[in-house]
Symmetry: C2
Subunit: 631 residues, 2 copies
């Protein structure tokens, strides 16, 4: 965590100095905004938290509810999401309060007496170490609280506007604020009254029944299954031995997915309510909680469950739907760039049982929000926004396909499996997907072809930058390189040095010189008057141990002077950790490599140290030729 460089900070260092529109932020929703976000769920809140980092962008997030979410809904947190929380600065706090999944147990009918269940298998949750972060369970309400805190602590002092429902929108062909949004007050003295807000861009993060989606003519495509599940968050006394372990329980009476929850006592059960008759007309949704508990007791026989307190419960039917596009551009060939976007459940709905929804939604929101920030600030052309829909639509389709397979397996009767271990085998085989690491963006203006992938085999282009341990030179601290990538909207350029010592002439030194001083360097686009690292966070990782690296020998680009006092930033120079050589662990060529990482943490390009023209060419379409200064 870096602070004090604008002067001494006595209180909470997570509170950034107010700046730009945060200096005099109107309490009331203004008539004109840069970005209007509809819905304060995970997709909307992460987008708000990211956009709040751009001092001169007015972002407002409207929410139908009169206040914060209290209970219920999603609770599964992939390791990829915890990486994301690290970027937003609250990973360690949410880890401390969450439940951590390390194993999954599979209970099945006892072959000797199929009326009873027995523990048939236990699998590890992340046997291959796909991330250094854990797989967590914590209520969505807390995730939203943390994002709200990030937004409130940001330079723009972002805060949700509760009590506004989205009614409709219209997009004009021109004008500074081309999107006209009609809202309705849902609470307070103006309840029932309409309100018009004009926006440059609108994000519909308004859930499975999204009206923003409807207003831009997107149709969710897919099926509604005829299988119903009851879900309950309960405090209970039970003799079921694995009540604090994630379990799949398959019995003759049906199936349960058991998810232990944060705090050591609460747990969630998804209880199979079986096939729903075609003429049910939603009647299954009225299944009383007593019936769900009774059925749970049947399934876990010979064990019993005495529910003492029901924190939340619901009944739902599994459906799998995804929209074909995530923005308002019907004809991609028209060259029009989008003004309205949808994210999260507005785009993709599926079963809750793979713990995916909140996670994919957050990546939707993050993917879009930094792009909106860059376009609105004038860093990038509007064409950047056209990358959102294709990137995220593919991810959503993969999610739907995965979840359809997983939820079908979960609903199967034990005797329907070809092999008894099919369920756990699927779980183990596909572990990387639900952990959130299978996203691999296809080549585009943001994702280079894998021409030089062999220079860094551990950083696949299009996938998220997988952190590894290094030693920070300045303070000799063993740190995770990726944990210093905060959600500040900056591009990151990691320069993995060649084998030369820092003091020697080298390809690394030549590349650093070009990056710092060439008019063709992307860093040259940084506005006059801004800190040298305002747009590009450039770091170097030497192959030597930290005691062999002296700051005097390190090129200037890796030790920029920042803030009003122009103090040196000592946290961009790294050396290998001898016990975890990052060059070995990430397959980096000893001749060095340049890794370009997007503001949302995905690898955009891998290049040799000599490929300055390729790097310049990569950034040319991303950066606007003439860049206005930011305040």
């Amino acid at each position: 965590m870096q602070f004090h460089h604008h002067g001494y900070v006595s209180e909470e260092p997570r509170l950034q100095p107010a700046a730009g529109v945060g200096l005099n932020r109107p309490e009331e929703l203004p008539d004109e905004v840069d970005v209007l976000i509809v819905g304060s769920g995970p997709a909307g809140m992460i987008a708000a938290a990211q956009l709040a980092q751009f001092p001169n962008i007015t972002t407002r997030i409207v929410e139908r509810r009169p206040g914060r979410l209290v209970i219920g809904q999603a609770d599964g947190i992939q390791a990829r999401s915890v990486e994301t929380f690290q970027a937003f600065g609250f990973a360690e706090r949410i880890i401390a309060e969450a439940y951590r999944i390390t194993e999954m147990a599979f209970w099945k009918p006892d072959p000797a007496d199929p009326s009873k269940i027995v523990r048939a298998a236990v699998t590890q949750d992340d046997p291959s170490g796909v991330s250094e972060f854990p797989h967590l369970i914590v209520n969505q309400a807390r995730v939203l609280d943390y994002f709200a805190e990030v937004a409130a602590n940001s330079p723009t002092r972002g805060k949700p506007d509760y009590g506004y429902e989205f009614v409709s929108l219209e997009v004009a062909d021109e004008g500074e604020y081309p999107v006209t949004v009609r809202l309705m007050h849902t609470a307070g003295e103006h309840e029932g009254q309409e309100r018009i807000v004009r926006a440059k861009y609108v994000l519909g993060a308004d859930g499975a029944r999204s009206k923003v989606r409807d207003s831009i003519g997107c149709t969710p495509i897919g099926d509604k299954s005829n299988h119903a599940w009851g879900v309950m968050d309960v405090l209970a006394v039970t003799d079921f031995p694995d009540i604090r372990t994630k379990c799949s329980i398959q019995s003759e009476a049906g199936n349960i997915l058991l998810i232990p929850r944060e705090g050591g006592y609460l747990f969630r059960m998804y209880v199979d309510l079986g096939e729903v008759p075609i003429d049910d007309a939603g009647a299954v949704r009225n299944t009383p909680i007593e019936e769900i508990i009774r059925h749970a007791n049947e399934i876990i026989h010979p064990y019993t469950l005495e529910v003492k307190n029901v924190a939340w419960h619901s009944v739902y039917e599994v459906g799998h739907r995804v929209t074909d596009r995530f923005d308002d551009v019907v004809d991609a060939a028209s060259g029009r760039t989008p003004r309205v976007f949808i994210a999260g459940d507005a785009c993709h709905t599926h079963s809750a049982k793979a713990g995916q929804g909140m996670n994919v939604s957050m990546q939707d929101g993050w993917n879009l929000s930094w792009k909106l920030g860059h376009v609105l600030e004038g860093r990038s052309p509007e064409s950047l926004l056209s990358t959102y829909s294709p990137e995220r639509q593919v991810v959503a389709q993969n999610l739907i396909d995965f979840d359809r397979e997983w939820s079908t397996l979960m609903a199967k009767k034990p005797e329907e499996f070809e092999h008894p271990s099919d369920l756990e085998d699927f779980y183990v085989r596909t572990a990387e997907f639900p952990a959130g690491f299978m996203t691999e963006y296809a080549p585009s203006m943001l994702t280079a072809e894998a021409t030089h992938q062999e220079l860094a085999t551990g950083f696949p282009i299009g996938k998220r930058f997988k952190s590894a341990q290094v030693v920070r030179r300045g303070d000799a601290n063993p740190v995770h390189l990726g944990h210093h990538a905060t959600a500040d909207g900056r591009w990151r350029i990691y320069v993995f040095a060649d084998a030369a010592r820092p003091a020697e002439a080298s390809a690394t030194a030549d590349f650093a010189e070009w990056l710092a001083n060439s008019p063709a360097s992307p860093v040259a686009a940084t506005p006059e008057g801004a800190d040298r690292d305002a747009w590009f966070d450039v770091k170097v990782i030497y192959q030597q141990g930290h005691s062999e690296v002296e700051f005097a020998d390190v090129p200037e680009i890796f030790k920029p002077l920042v803030g009003p006092f122009q103090l040196m930033d000592y946290e961009k120079v790294y050396a290998v950790d001898p016990e975890h050589d990052i060059f070995d662990e990430r397959g980096i060529d000893r001749a060095g490599a340049v890794i370009v990482v997007r503001p949302d943490g995905y690898v955009s390009n891998v290049l040799p140290l000599t490929a300055t023209e390729e790097l310049a060419a990569f950034f040319r379409p991303i950066l606007r030729a003439s860049v206005p200064a930011t305040a």
Copy 2:
């Protein structure tokens, strides 16, 4: 972190439900309190945070300042203190914002040109792994903020009363509130007016010029050195290479101790101002900051330091003083138990440069506060309070002795050393002391003789319980056993099982049966109506792997039913982590052992599983024979 067992918690789980005196806490300082703490520094604030956990005890903390501490003062945080923060629930947050010391560099005159300094040696800060927690630097103001948050989040909703100065006190021989304290308003509409508060107990944590100390007739004994140091927290531009590393810099022009600070830019320098003439009469304290900066530049030649911003600075002369007693009992043989205590700088003053003051002060405050809680709640007799002064006075004396040696070395001229490496050798040789782990309480009513020490050589009686890794059975999580010891005022009994499997008859099962059901068991003292584990947190660690431990086989005492719903606590049953077998790492006899740990984390006793009578005899003088119920 355990919560939800009193019903679903939607918001911050670190906020405990209000109870007892916290249900209707008066905003104004009341006329009568159980404990009055004078001074909101580290000793006072930890005591307030600990006492705030006892629902029926009224604790108030008065502070002369009108509000929180803003800047300056202590910044060194030993690993022992971070362990303490873990117990109070904020370790991960303060680690995230602090500077972490991993190395110390020693700069000395270049033998080839003694007018210039060169890096002569670099030593690791904790080569032996004395703690799993890091050694940190963070401003005292933030430490106090976190303790204030703990107190505010506690059942009693504790909060400092700012704007009251201590004037004097008198202790009567009888009465429910025998200590009469005169205070003076230092701010607000009553400024200058006196205020009388009556208390059962008073803690003077009012600093080096403690008036509470004076009022009980304690005299600080020791010397005032004639060596002065300037200290400054600054933002600066420099070419000194190790500006982000802790450094001792010895040059012909004098000495500097450099302490990098949190946030990546700020650092503290202790700059040697040399011998002070006997007739100086405090004139050295008026040394201007420009003079300190100029002198720092001379010392670091050939490097330079351009100070851009001074956050704080001060000048002090090193003194070493300790009081002979820490309470108001002049004649220990009288049998009188104390009513007034002093802690922290009120008892011990010394140089700031070993980074000890805040740490020892916090352990003073913690040592006393749980004892006050137990006596006031009626768990323990008043004689418990007589253990405070002898336990902490020895620690203070050791601290003074250590610091005198270290600060003398730090002030020596390079040519005065017998061996050039004397300074760094001393630093490495004595590392465990400044890390906070040399405290070893002598036998007393709280500390048993080391009769059975060989059963657990890694848990020395009298020293702090050193955590190690285990696997928690309930959720198969690898965890640190010691990290689950929260500052809740409970005794802890760790039962390291013998080699038998949980389902078999065993010494462990017999011990558990005795502990749960014998009238002689300390657990039998727990009041009627309170949760089974309200006074004693009893945990078991099996020698088997977690998959070999089934809850059905575990004795009841290790899985108590708690809270209004009487839910099972699944977080007291542990198994070995096969990669870190705690029995091996802590030298525990395979026949098992019982480790008794005080509420402030020190090992009180080590016993065989069969020594039930010894355990009963140990607790007999600590627990009151007839125990009133707590609400």
